[in-house]
């Protein structure tokens, strides 16, 4: 099957792949010993094959929510299930991460990096190599299989990180601002390329991003979180089928969604500023 001949309608169905229930909340203790609510009252269902982006003001708990989805952090209240299995610890077969930072292991070559999760899961060397090469081919980097991370550009390293996550064949892919460290142009093209691959493979993806453009052009649904503690204040569906061409950015549909999201974020940001000003006056 070619990468382009599957549309999002074919892969999306009504089956929930990830559920965050019971008013999921995360509270942690700060270094000064005070409890801090990072997330509160989160209830979310993500469908099989859906591409969901999460946006919100800085420090609103976007990455915290993603870490909960990946089993790297346990919620204080509520529970998460992936593929109808309760998520109690990180399991890359259920949810695989693509991190914001460059996290390829510098002492391993690219193909070994791609198959590291399989290696840790006890797969044979041959299977790891085969799967690693297959995933590298998918992201168009098979020629650098034997290179080391320091020999690759940032964009290439993040493509390898996507291949690493895909190699686990996870139920859901979690991406935490995966292209945040790249320049605008590389980020846009690489993002589009990765989105095209993920759509063609019918992957369920949850991605945290700061970029409104990125959130809209890739997603079926955009979740907007409020300022800390993060609560879901809006869910916006993007009706245009995926993968969308970059030219979608110039359409009225895009502009309308962008304006609405911008307004929501601005309101959220103003609330924070007012609260800060009040606390300064109060003190």
């Amino acid at each position: 099957m070619s990468l382009n001949d599957r549309s999002i309608e074919m892969s999306l169905n009504d089956r929930s792949i990830l559920k965050a229930n019971d008013d999921l909340s995360v509270t942690y203790t700060s270094s000064s010993g005070k409890p801090v609510n990072a997330l509160a009252g989160i209830n979310l269902n993500i469908k099989d094959g859906e591409f969901v982006t999460i946006i919100g003001p800085s420090g609103c708990g976007k990455s915290t929510l993603l870490q909960c989805f990946g089993g790297l952090l346990s919620p204080t209240i509520g529970e998460i299930s992936v593929d109808n299995k309760p998520l109690v610890a990180a399991d890359p077969k259920l949810a695989a991460f693509v991190f914001q930072e460059y996290t390829l292991l510098p002492w391993k070559n690219i193909v070994d990096n791609v198959s590291i999760g399989l290696h840790w899961a006890g797969e044979s060397k041959e299977d790891c190599l085969k799967k690693g090469l297959e995933m590298l081919e998918l992201v168009g980097l098979s020629e650098v299989a034997k290179s080391y991370p320091r020999e690759l550009s940032g964009g290439m390293q993040q493509r390898v990180a996507v291949a690493r996550a895909m190699s686990m064949d996870p139920s859901i892919l979690l991406m935490d601002e995966p292209f945040g460290a790249l320049d605008e142009q590389t980020r846009r093209h690489l993002g589009w390329e990765v989105c095209r691959i993920l759509t063609a493979r019918g992957r369920t993806v949850v991605m945290v991003t700061h970029s409104l453009d990125e959130a809209i052009i890739w997603a079926d649904r955009i979740i907007v979180l409020s300022e800390c503690p993060g609560r879901i204040i809006n869910e916006t569906h993007v009706p245009t089928p995926r993968p969308r061409p970059l030219a979608f950015i110039g359409t009225p549909a895009f502009a309308e969604i962008r304006a609405e999201l911008f307004r929501l974020l601005e309101t959220s940001s103003e609330n924070v500023q007012e609260r800060v000003a009040d606390s300064v006056v109060g003190s």
Partner: protein, 261 residues
């Protein structure tokens, strides 16, 4: 055009550097020759250069020097091996909890700062004047920087790599061996490099203080016999042995400047 100028500038910079280095050596040799001629410095204080060269060549053909090199090098290598295994083991054990790390790290700093020479008479008492005392003394000096650097290395592994381990299902053992240990190699190697230099210095000093064989013993023997020409020749041999040893250590251990590949 620009790049040609940069290359030319670098070459001329290197050539000038070499000229200054060779000039300094020539000045030192000139001062030596002047001291032996018009300077009228006694040959007991500063021997004739040709005598030193003659003794050096004689030593190269003498089994006495090769036996001494073998003794000194074996003491250094055994001491380094003991201190590396011990230092590495202590650091690996301590790095597993914050409590252990905090307690042990401070002890290692104290151990590093203590002048170990104070304990040498006791070490002689315990191990005698043969090779075991040199090995014990050198190992006791080298173990602290090695353990300290290894501990710092194990604790300082970039958290993002630990996160990858957790997210991609690494077991506790895989985390230890394939991430913490592998990620700590550059800093740990720096500790072993310091340990290697320290064991070399301490073995030679220990041989000079109390021994019946080894390069340090030979140097002390000829210096106390007022045979300065032979003393200088032995110093030259020690410097060559040191250079070869350091070159070997540098080649064998991973280079910090490069990536931890």
């Amino acid at each position: 055009m620009m790049s040609t100028q940069v290359v030319t500038s670098r070459v001329s910079h290197r050539v000038r550097g070499r000229i200054v280095q060779l000039g300094t050596i020539a000045a030192a040799v000139g001062a030596w020759l002047w001291a032996q001629g018009p300077g009228d410095v006694s040959s007991i204080i500063l021997p004739r250069l040709n005598e030193v060269i003659t003794e050096f060549i004689r030593f190269l053909g003498s089994s006495e020097v090769y036996r001494a090199i073998a003794v000194t090098m074996s003491e250094i290598l055994v001491a380094l091996a003991i201190s590396a295994v011990l230092g590495f083991g202590v650091a690996f054990w301590a790095a597993r909890t914050d409590f252990r790390s905090n307690v042990v790290e401070r002890l290692l700093v104290w151990g590093y700062l203590v002048p170990h020479i104070l304990f040498y008479p006791l070490i002689i008492l315990w191990f005698g004047i043969g090779s075991p005392s040199k090995v014990a003394y050198a190992a006791s000096a080298a173990v602290f920087p090695i353990a300290f650097n290894c501990l710092r290395a194990f604790r300082g592994v970039d958290p993002k790599f630990l996160n990858v381990g957790r997210a991609y299902g690494a077991s506790a053992r895989q985390m230890d061996w394939q991430i913490k240990l592998r990620g700590s190699i550059p800093l740990a190697a720096a500790g072993i490099r310091i340990g290697a230099a320290l064991s070399m210095v301490t073995v030679i000093v220990a041989e000079m203080l109390s021994a019946i064989k080894g390069l340090g013993y030979l140097l002390k023997y000829y210096a106390q016999s007022f045979n300065t020409a032979r003393s200088f020749a032995i110093i030259a041999i020690i410097l060559i042995v040191v250079a070869i040893f350091q070159f070997g250590v540098t080649k064998l251990l991973p280079n910090e400047a490069k990536d931890i590949r």
